[in-house]
Symmetry: C2
Subunit: 502 residues, 2 copies
């Protein structure tokens, strides 16, 4: 069975946003490499073969209100969703509903092997619903991202309302589905949506599997430093002196890039497609490196996998083989850093140069997520340089907000998500599984202890970013097999309870 | 102890909307007296003396987002709220939070005697929050009702978000309130909001008392005919031949108003401020009469009370004293009808003429509620003329929608409220008391059986519209005393549970 999709965080600083072609001038905050981070809970593209069970589905579209929460804009758009009933017991059998996140839904569909793997056992229909403003589900077509007016309907609440309306429509129109129990499943931001969907629409979904969902990575709920501490620990335990070598690299890069000659030398060593020309470019290089380490932490999977570039099993271990000497000279150290990142970007050896403007897949809606990070999804992240291997950077909300305003004309509202979704005070809800891999930086913002009997945590010690949603693999560690078994057991229990109450 | 506020439904047909000064031409649907009803869960003004406990409160304003669910409109407005801590135990003692409905909050504050009566026993702070677009809490000042663009933020979801933000603000800023348990209390539409608030924000309120809250008076949830059947039954049991006499009156009015002479005669009999001039005026008269019977059913209280005009105890019984002969001649019958409604409009004998354009208090935001009825609050009502004493009128959504579009430029979305708030499928929630008076027409759309151990129904057989929220009165029937005792017991239990969990 093939490997599957992976999801990686990309830390997009002001500079990275520029690099990604967004309008904000890097010069606005050249001294703030993390200042206006737009963290993406993003995913990397997979070229994994389809799971053995096959991926036959139908594509449909439902006409949805652009604005569920207001009546002045009475426009509609077409939401895409994918559906398969090949394993479904059409007498009110279960429906597994993927709450689509920030990307093309066909990509999530192909890369959530878990749902395909369990469909037969649960006799379940599978539905994958695309999130508005991603993939083909664009409320205003090409104009969707043109300005803050057109972007105004890109919120998690609107997305949840789309899901609710879609499920009611399916139950009404599919013969035999009227009383089907529906379970929400999602990973990463999709996992947040799955959990929130159960919280806000418990009449529509009987439970939710929220995989690697950092629902607490919001202001004042968790320490902003935990995220990069986890990244650091992943490197620390994957090779002797590994994290120390990365820690030493920042100053080495600073020293080397302080001269024109050094900029040129580094550009050559890194085989950069676009050579460094200034200090700002050097800051950008460091952001790109940091983002690479984060991505590696997210996809530190136990088997060889095939994403942006093919990766070996336990890639951080491979990377760390080059990162053993923090005391090497600046040039040797930087050459070793290159060898390390080259595993991530060029394991196949096919890349002719490295592009510091790209770290993630084009299947993801980068614009959309950046807007969301600038409005609702304010997830504070910081580094100390002491408990982590990165350059110290405080969380600077004022700079973040300013960046967002310049870029999108909107101001983030950091307290809104905790207000509307409950922050840490969610114990009155029920039937949510929060699964988190301990290797995953997003574990920092996850729910990692049982809250009640029915709000349960599953921690996967050997897991990176939602490994449990990946398709079965011969090299799966025991811990993820156990997690999946528990998840299926919970779902069966919810279904039995639901059917008992009817 | 004084009597208190009363709330009465006003059935605003197309014609009544015209009469109320709204722009829609009556001529658009002269044959449809109930066709485009905008039911108001409205309230009548009270001149009741303040309850014995006194009504000392402070008035404050909180800056709120005009749009909680979008970021393009980053405007704010001032929400008014009233607060008193004279009975509060300021070491995390309870807060009773009135979820303001469609009117001036000072009026609800004065007329929710129950909260004042129990404040001492519960050692509670009282907060009364004004609903946006009512009273002084106008998002765009005088322009708030100018068009559908300015009205766009008048929804129940926005109002609930205001309440959530306000409570978080109070807990953050009032010393000793940080861990206070908050209980939502409301009546009528305010009761719907209280219930929905607990459903959507259980992390903010530990429970809700939803008094006379017709949360099921929505499409496909209850029979549309039940509402007027209850009105009819109230008259049927309050006097021999009473409902039959009203039933006979419609055709009598038709026959009399078929001539110019008859129109003039009726105008004189009814002492109308504005004489009838056409068939349309006659239809309007009938709507006004129907609305009067509805209002009487809502305020059929056991003691004399003081609202639009002072009313005797059990006013329907008084009214029915004039309505004993359905077989009388048309003229006698209509004269008796006048005597009956005159009790409602002129018990004090001070009115020099009757105005068919007015049935309810100016404390209510009629414009606001009409807009809400034309967007989210679509509450189907119909009559058969068989199981009720009214002229038959089907529920005609198409006409309703057209009426709304002409009036406000918006289309109602009748399925949205059940989708977002769960319709009848609400059993996964907890800690909500649904109280309903069996005499109240809105009982038809209420929750009148326990759903679970913690979603409980209290039916008050002798109660009209949320009698339980009224101040204590010597003539209170046993059933309402029992209801209030149970309500306080539930609240104490929630508070104890909450404190036990902390």
């Amino acid at each position: 069975m093939g490997s599957r999709a992976f999801i990686a965080a990309a830390v997009s600083s002001a500079l990275l946003l520029l690099a990604l072609g967004l309008p904000n001038p890097a010069a606005a905050a050249p001294h703030l490499p993390w200042a206006a981070q737009s963290l993406r809970l993003s995913s990397l593209p997979s070229r994994a073969p389809a799971p053995a069970v096959g991926l036959s589905y139908e594509t449909h579209y439902l006409v949805q209100q652009v604005d569920h929460f207001g009546f002045d804009v009475n426009l509609t758009f077409k939401q895409r969703y994918l559906i398969t009933d090949q394993y479904w017991k059409n007498n009110n059998g279960a429906i597994l509903f993927y709450t689509g996140n920030e990307g093309d839904i066909t990509w999530f569909c192909k890369n959530t092997g878990f749902m395909w793997d369990v469909a037969e056992e649960l006799k379940a229909m599978l539905v994958f619903a695309e999130h508005r403003y991603y993939g083909e589900s664009l409320p205003f077509g090409n104009l969707s991202f043109s300005d803050s007016k057109h972007l105004n309907y890109l919120t998690s609440e609107q997305a949840l309302a789309d899901f609710a309306v879609l499920i009611e429509y399916l139950k009404k129109t599919i013969p035999g589905a009227k009383n089907s129990p529906v379970i929400a499943i999602g990973g990463s931001y999709g996992g947040m949506l799955a959990a929130w969907f159960r919280m806000k629409y418990p009449h529509i979904v009987i439970g939710a599997l929220a995989a690697s969902a950092p629902i607490w990575q919001f202001t004042d709920l968790v320490s902003c430093g935990k995220f990069f501490e986890i990244v650091t620990n992943d490197f620390k335990k994957s090779g002797s002196k590994c994290s120390e070598t990365i820690q030493s690299s920042w100053k080495a890069i600073d020293r080397l890039t302080s001269t024109g000659e050094g900029l040129q030398w580094i550009s050559e060593v890194f085989h950069l497609c676009n050579p460094l020309r200034s200090q700002i470019d050097a800051i950008m290089l460091k952001s790109w490196l940091a983002e690479t380490w984060v991505n590696l932490a997210m996809v530190d999977y136990p088997y060889s996998s095939d994403f942006l570039m093919p990766l070996p099993a336990w890639p951080i271990k491979e990377v760390c083989k080059y990162l053993t000497d923090p005391s090497a000279s600046d040039k040797i150290l930087v050459q070793n850093i290159f060898r390390a990142v080259n595993i991530y970007y060029n394991y196949s050896g096919e890349a002719s140069c490295l592009n510091t403007s790209q770290t993630a897949t084009s299947n993801l809606g980068i614009q959309g997520w950046n807007y969301q990070a600038c409005t609702e999804m304010v997830m504070p992240i910081c580094t100390t340089g002491i408990s982590d291997m990165f350059e110290p950077q405080e969380w600077d909300f004022a700079a973040y907000s300013e960046q967002c305003f310049q870029e999108w004309g909107v101001r983030p509202r950091p307290s809104w998500i905790p207000t509307v979704f409950g922050g840490k005070n969610i114990s009155s809800h029920s039937n949510i599984i929060f699964s988190n891999g301990a290797l995953d930086p997003w574990y920092a913002g996850g729910v990692n202890e049982n809250i009640t009997d029915t709000l349960v945590s599953i921690v996967i010690p050997d897991g990176a970013h939602h490994l449990d949603l990946c398709a079965r693999n011969a090299d799966d560690p025991e811990s993820v097999l156990l997690a999946r078994t528990m998840e299926v057991d919970y779902m069966k229990k919810w279904i039995t309870q639901f059917q008992g109450h009817r």
